[in-house]
Subunit: 139 residues, 4 copies
């Protein structure tokens, strides 16, 4: 069971994450250690080549991992990314993106997750990321 | 010598990279294979903990590598990131950020760069990234 | 269908990959874009803490990706790793390891794969890796 | 000042790191947060293409970071790698390798380092790595 509801995570985004909030992310699923987030398409996301800019996918991957971590440890907003690796596999079409994050490890101090990102209507993965979050000791 | 002027890169940002343009990046240096970019501080960049959100640093790192790549190969806007790894070393204060990218390798098909990010007024590095760009064959 | 048989890959290891051959890897599965490799335990694999040394897991991950790539493109031994990221999730016990690699992308020039590594008898993943291989143009 | 001498680190390798010891690494420099290690060439390090196998470079990078970490925290052999990213920039010739690691961050729980690897006689970097080590709490 998730330790944070979709409504609670939407509120965290709205009130404390303006960088993510600007993309109007939609939390589709929030389970213990797993999150699915959809990013609606807007033409402001594009870069040369008619594809969505890499930093948008990185922001989406990071947000999905944050959601997956909080779903497992609860409302610990001070959990922070310590590292992230992303591989861009295919140029995403100008369309909505969906990221699915799942925890690979949940330790006391570190959580590690992987993220798969898809472009709506395309079965092939467009990006894959792994990220590590540091969990604050005092909670 | 750089194959792209600062003014030309600023124009690429302004006209084709809205995701980066929103942060009003200032290109301080553009040499062959090396770029320094400053990101002015705004409170919209913050996340819980009073620090700058990770995706802002990722976007800055990616932009700095893009600049370093184009400084070496010229106006090839279709060069795209194929992978990026970032390590967050220290929570950046609410202040401007400066990223310095330098090419580690410039091949025909791939360029690899590393990026060091500093927070203004702090001598300790706040993040370190490496990124690979794919260079389109036809140019 | 795999473009390389298990026997052919075992021969590549035996004749051309002494660094991998020293670990006596057993190829359990080789399908198109997917490979499972088992590494028998020996006490020479240990490091302080009674756990298997990180470089052994890196070598295993790299070999599993090489197998997955060749299973999809055939006997192209000059395919080489261009990058690899590994996250160590849990200290593996002194036991055999199993790595499962699957291709996330197979392009003309680059292949990207992810690898999950398990310690025999433990359902929790001990390491996760992603790697990119460069595929030589002339083949 | 280093908290571990070259002789002490050589002893750690000889007595507790058989995976590294097999490559007969030579510790050239050990300063606080910085280590230089040379790996002599042997033909058993090769892979198809007449170049040194990737896992050898990964093992060397990891060892150099371990040395840099211990030079800063002392004889804490239970420090372990939590993640490593390597970019292969150029196929190393059949020659000795030299890795130079330097700490980018030394925290209470995590240390982050970068590593540059060169092939003897070649001024161009052949590989670049970043790695994170977890430092055990009780010491």
């Amino acid at each position: 069971m998730t330790k944070l509801s979709i409504a609670e995570f939407q509120q965290i985004i709205r009130e404390t994450l303006p960088v993510a909030a600007q993309y109007s992310p939609e939390i589709k699923t929030l389970e213990h250690g797993r999150a699915v987030i959809r990013l609606p398409y807007r033409k402001e996301l594009l870069r040369p080549g008619g594809t969505i800019a890499g930093p948008v996918l990185m922001a989406l991957a990071d947000l999905a991992v944050y959601a997956a971590v909080l779903s497992a440890i609860g409302h610990v907003v001070l959990a922070v990314t310590t590292s992230l690796t992303i591989n861009f596999l295919k140029k995403p079409a100008p369309a909505a993106l969906t990221a699915e994050a799942r925890l690979l490890k949940l330790g006391k101090r570190l959580a590690v997750a992987e993220v798969e990102i898809f472009s709506e209507g395309d079965p092939e993965m467009v990006a894959h990321a792994t990220a590590t979050y540091s969990i604050p000791p005092e909670r």
